[in-house]
Symmetry: C2
Amino acid sequence: MSARAPDPPGEHLPDAEAALAALADRMRSGVAHDAAFVGIYSGGAWLADRLAKLLPGNHPVGHLDVSFYRDDYAKKGLKAGARRSALPFDVAGSRIVLIDDVLYTGRSTRAAINELFDYGRPASIELAVLVDRGGRELPIEPAYTGARVACARTLNIVLTRGDDGRLALSVEPAGA
Amino acid sequence: MSARAPDPPGEHLPDAEAALAALADRMRSGVAHDAAFVGIYSGGAWLADRLAKLLPGNHPVGHLDVSFYRDDYAKKGLKAGARRSALPFDVAGSRIVLIDDVLYTGRSTRAAINELFDYGRPASIELAVLVDRGGRELPIEPAYTGARVACARTLNIVLTRGDDGRLALSVEPAGA
């Protein structure tokens, strides 16, 4: 048997563009034609913009910055470069698809739902995520998932966007 | 062919005691031995008491009244006989199983999660429900379900408890 180096972390991450295509396929048959797409900064906002162009229908796009709403805000504080939320449609009565890049504990999703309700009472909120890495700490589940991956608890999965607009997934040490 | 009267509403409801036994079986292999059981008034509170006796381990039991926390509180107001919440353990850092009788839109679950976080930041919250009737309006899903039933939107499914302590499911017109 030949010696074999361990896989570098992130070796088994899916291609982000392929996961986005899979996510769009799953949303195509389920999402209301007038559903608003609300992306969580920063990765979810990129995804919301892309999905609104990929999917049929007329989807208003909004962005949410949940830094102030997370339950660990007191511990983590506000990251440098935190941005304001922008929801250019009436949240009250809307059917909303909340979009995030990586679903893990569910705490960011809860924060986003609470922020949405501060704007108004939506008719419904569905969740769509590019990557579900498991490890939930709240009873939150997505209606639409691009890819499922296993990932060590010591790592964060990060979505980045190149100058050409292409999305990519990578890992970095948790707590970085 | 003989004439046949339409099924009375609720004909296909499961037996509540059988659904409770199924729910307990599913929780037995998944729930942490020290998880706290928090039941949502009134049906979930009865279930939490019963499940704490049925399952191995040492499960502190708490009760939550979410009347003040629901997003339709302004519309529905406080029901007669609303009771106070009682959580006789430290919520911060606890593993909690939130227990409800009927899961429908998910709005009561969201209210209960928010109320729990007002007491402290739990390590985790899982959801256990006696009956899942579908129709979700928020991305909430249970880890443990006793039974799944289809039910007309014009009906509520109601859990009642007899003088002998036995639980029963029935339906009533929605908005009653």
